[in-house]
Subunit: 319 residues, 2 copies
């Protein structure tokens, strides 16, 4: 079976680990990773979502934190601060720096991001085929208004530095309009037996991937069932501050609203948490097959059960 998953960072990576636990030997998982949260820091190209997937599936992730490397040190970061060179709000560890140095060097030598990602994965052996959504530069910006006036800031500045403390007025995937899907992305979607939307951020993760021209249409027209898992449980994001960016696109932070935001032209099935069982009827009425199952990734077994439920819902859709 060929499974394609669109993934953001922490939530997506953890779900994918559960997915790997339940697929059969020989099944192939292709991950289309969000690169809209990529950022240039200290002259280096940092791809937080791709790295979170790679480190998580490759066994290098800092488990408690959910991002960055296990047993990390911060000598480089401390030295950069000693030079007065910022930003200091983005936590890059020494081991992580090496990844960005290798990536930046390869990009500088002319390799596209997809080839660089493949080379990095040669080491990490994540057990999935990890494709960036695009080899072209796409960076999500967020329009905000605060004491400094109305302006657009990089998503990482909004998320990590400002902790999404001010309202997001608009989400702008800069460069997405002219970006092309990375090699293999459209082909993987077209050839998929199942397409999954993990419980990643519907706006700045999945939404950004879908904003690359061609990808939304490829998913919508793919023969495979498309099943998503709600990142919203009981009216609040499981992790992160997804409600902030949902508000920017006029979507309520509910499991039901997110499903209808994707829409029945895009997704065929939707899993909500048991806490949102009351929303099943409304989602179903929207033309999307919906089930309520436990959606908290509290441990590997619970995460694997979610993945299994998603694959089973896909089979129901197909049948």
């Amino acid at each position: 079976m060929r499974i394609v998953a669109l993934a953001g960072g922490i939530g997506g990576a953890r779900f994918l680990r559960g997915l790997k636990d339940v697929v059969a030997p020989g099944d192939e998982i292709t991950v289309i990773g969000n690169t809209g949260d990529d950022i240039h820091l200290f002259g280096l190209k940092v791809c937080p979502d791709l790295d979170t997937v790679m480190y998580t599936l490759g066994g290098g992730i800092h488990e408690d934190q959910g991002w960055g490397r296990a047993e990390e040190s911060y000598a480089v970061k401390d030295e950069l601060a000693a030079y007065g060179v910022g930003p200091s709000w983005f936590g890059l560890g020494d081991k992580d720096f090496a990844t960005h140095i290798v990536r930046t060097q390869m990009l500088g030598a002319g390799y596209p991001l997809s080839a660089v990602t493949e080379a990095l994965c040669d080491r990490w052996q994540p057990g999935v085929r990890l494709l960036p959504m695009s080899d072209d530069r796409v960076e999500t910006h967020v329009r905000i208004t605060d004491a400094d006036g109305t302006r657009a800031v990089h998503f990482q500045e909004y998320w990590v530095k400002l902790h999404a403390a001010v309202d997001a007025e608009a989400i702008i995937p800069v460069g997405a309009d002219t970006a092309k899907p990375a090699p293999g992305v459209l082909e993987a979607i077209a050839a998929a037996d199942v397409i999954l939307f993990p419980p990643s951020n519907p706006v700045v993760s999945i939404g950004t991937i879908l904003a690359v021209p061609g990808i939304r249409q490829a998913v919508a027209s793919a023969p495979a069932p498309v099943v998503g898992l709600s990142p919203i449980i009981g009216g609040a994001p499981v992790r992160g501050m997804a409600d902030k960016v949902l508000a920017a696109v006029g979507v309520e932070a509910t499991a039901e609203a997110v499903a209808l935001h994707y829409g029945c032209d895009l997704i065929d099935g939707w899993l909500v948490d048991e806490a949102d069982a009351a929303s099943v009827d409304a989602v179903t009425a929207g033309g999307i097959r919906c089930l309520a199952v436990p959606l908290l990734m509290t441990d590997p077994a619970a995460t694997a059960a979610m993945a299994r439920a998603a694959l089973e819902l896909a089979e129901q859709v197909r049948a």
Copy 2:
């Protein structure tokens, strides 16, 4: 008093520390640093000699090693090796990496190396004005013949990887012919009260600085006395493998031969070690005022005494 010193790495840096100990308050030291041993590693611009001077005078040097940072760690290097990305023979520590990251970022933003060096020195406060010999790229290559045939390798590859184990057939300062002295270099030389050649490598350190068009002539025509200190004691380099590169330019590894290699058109005074007292007459016959004094930088006091002897010899030349 305005003192200008041309300096390479370890030997030059240690001498400069002694020089700082003996100058009067208000005296200004301008160091023209060799950049011919600069190398691009992992996409980063590494300037070993400039950094050795900066770290040594700024209190950050690894004392025993003579290069790199004190209390250094190697997480980045280990990770790069885990990615299979080399070279592994050049020892870059985590703290040191930060310097190269800052430098590379600033160069990428369009700042010339001289401005970058000044910015780095803002932190280190080396107590001297440190100027790269040139803002233009100059990289010393060494022609060798070994099992792989006759070829030119980067100086660092010859020195650090190959340990100068094969003969150097030629020393080629690639790019020097079209390089321009960095801003302030010629002005500092012209305005100097004393010009010093520390016991740095006469070929790949001082020689490379002098290979930048305009610098040799500026030194030769400067009104200030020019005094050098022999890096050769008793027919052998005090440190490093200077004899290898001296042979490449047809110069014997003796205190006398190095003085005459610089020549009386360039230097006015020359200090040899007491072990080479027998060479004083020959150097003097070559038109260079020469004295034999202890030239081993065994401790700060000995190094300071060497600097004092060099300044006194300059006064003798002037008088």
